[in-house]
Amino acid sequence: MSALITPELVDLELSASDRRAATRALAQRLCDAGRVTDLDGFLDDVTAREAQMPTGIEGGIGIPHARSRHVTTPSVAFGRSGPGVDFGAPDGPAHLIFLIAAPTEGDADHMTILAALARRLVHASFREALSTAADPQAAAELINREVSGK
C-alpha cells in the first residue's frame, strides 16, 4: 500500500489568495504524482463538498476533501501558509491545509488511514509539530508515522 503522503505532496510555502487557489495548487501536486487522474473533475468534487459546509476547523485548519472517482489512491496533500487562507472557520484563516482525496470505492483499510489522519488533526501537538516541520520530507514522515499509529 503506498504511503498516504510523500514529500512531493507537501508545500510548506503555499501561496494562495483564497481557498480555491489553495485547493487547486495542492490538487495539482496530487495530479502530478498520478494519484488524481482528472484535475478539474476532482476539483469539482471538492468544491461540491465545500459548498455543503465550509471545511475550516477552529485552530487554523482547512480540510478540503472529497470522495471522487478521479482519485486512484487515498492521499493527502499538505500545505502550510504563513498569512493563512480563509476556509470559513469562525476563528480566522487556516494555516495548515490538508487536501484529502479518497477514491469512491476505497476499501476499509484505506479509509481507516484517512480516519486516523482526521483523528490526529484534532490534537494540538500534531498541529504544532506540522507548523514547525523543517522540510517536506519531515512533514511527510511525521504524517505517515502518526497515521500508522507508531
Binding site: T55, R67, M111, L114, A118, H123
Partner: protein
Amino acid sequence: MKLVAVTSCPTGIAHTYMAAEALEEAAKAAGHEIAVETQGAAGATPLDPAVIAAADAVIFAADVGVRDRERFAGKPLVQASVKAGINDAAGLISQAEQLAAAAPVGAGALAPAAESAGAMPGWNTTVEAGAGIGTRLRQWLMTGVSYMIPFVAAGGILIALSFVFGGASIATKVNGGTFQGHTYAAIIDPTKILGQVGFAGVLYFIGSTAFTMLVPILAGFIAFGMADRPGIVPGIVAGLLAVAVGAGFLGGLIGGLLAGAVTLAILQIRVPHALAGVMPVVIIPLVTALIMGVIMVVVIGQPIASAQHGLTHWLNSLSGTSGIVLGLLLGAMMAFDMGGPVNKTAYTFALAGLASGNLEVMAAVMAAGMTPPLALALATVVRPRLFTAAERRAGEAAWLLGLSFITEGAIPFAAGDPFRVIPSLMVGSAVTGALSFAFGCTSRAPHGGIWVVGLIGHPVQYVLALVCGMVISAIVVIALKTLRKPLPAEERQQAIVPARPGAVVAA
C-alpha cells in the same frame, strides 16, 4: 459519568473522525467515559447495546441522519452539528452532563423503543445517511405509524367489542344523541357509565378514549422520527390540535412533519452555554409547541372549517341527483381521510339524512366506511411481502375494525404510504357506496357495522356491495405497491420477519 456518541458527516472521511476524537479527548479531560460510534466511510462498528444501556447521556454530532437512532430512544440527548463536535466538544460534554443530571434516575429506552429493538424489528426508524428525501419521508411516517398501531388495535377492538356486547345503540347511550327514536343524554361523568349503560358502555368509553390519542401519537412520533426527543412535544401538541380543529389524521400527519421540521430548525440555533441547560427542558418545548399551535389553529384550522362548511353546502345542493352518483361521491369521501374533515362531512350528511328518514344514505356511508380496513386486511393476507411486519399486524386487527365500521383501522396504512393507499381505498369505497344505493340498501343504525345487520334493509346485497369494494381496493393497492421501486434489501428483509415471535421463518 458514562456517555455514548455518534458522529457522522456527508463525506464520511474527515469530520466524522475529527468529531469522534475531539469528543473522546474532551470526555477524558472532564473525567468521563465515552464510547463513540463513527458512522463514516470506513464503516461503522455499532456500539455494544450494553454500553448504550449503561450510558447516562447520548451525544449526536451529526450532519446526516444517525443510523439506527432508535437504539438511543429515551436517553438524554444532546444533538449538534458535526462541526460543533469538533470545535466545541467540551461544550457538548457539559450539556450532556447537565441533561443527565436533570433526567430521572435510570433513564432508559422508552418501552415501545425497547420492544422495537427486540421483538418487533419492523419499525423503520432507520434514517439512512444520504437517503433520498422520499425514502426519509417514508421512514418518518412509518415511525409515527408504528407507534400508532397499538392504539388503533387496542382502541378499535375495545369499541368493536362494545358493539358486540352492547348492541348498536351503545355509542349513542354513552355520547348522547338519538338512536331509533330514543333520545339519550350524554353521560358527563365517566364513573357513571357502568351503572347507567353497563360494562359494554365502559368498553366503548375506554376504546374511544384510546382512539383520541391516535392522531396525537402519529404526529408526535413522526416528529420524533425526524428530530428525536425534542420533536415529541410539538408533534403531540400539533396532533391534539389537529383533532381539536377537526383536521383528522392527514392534519396530524402534516402537523407532525411540520413539528419535526420546526424542531430541527430550532436545534440549529447555537445558544450560550449558560442557556444550554434550560434549552431542552423549557425553551425548546415552549417555542416549538407555540409555533406549532399557532400553525395548527390559525393556518390549518380555519381553512379546514370553511372547506367543511363549503362541502356540506355542496352536498346538500346535490339532493335530487341520482343515488348512484351520490353513493360514489360519499363513498370516496368516507375513504379519503378516515375520520378527518371530508369523512366527517359525509358522515354528518348521512346523519342528517337518517334524522329526516332517508335511510339509504346512511347505509351507503357505513358500507363505504367499512371497506377500507377490510380491503387492507385482505391485501396483507394476499401479498404480505408488500407490507412491513408492523403493517401486517395492523392488518390482523383491521378485519374486526372494518366489520365494526371503524374506518380508522386503515389509518396506519394510509399514513405510511398516503399517495398509494388513499386513492386505492377511495375507488373501492366509491364502488361500495354506489352499489349500496343501487341495491336500495338501507340502515336504521348510524354505526355498528356488521353487528347491526338486523337493522339493514337488503342485508345480502349489502354484504355483496361490501365485498366488491373490498376486493377492488385490495387489487388497486396491491397493484400500486407492486409498481413502486423495490424496497431496499434491508427493509425487504424486515418485511419478511414473522409477525409473531415463534412463527416459522420461511427460508
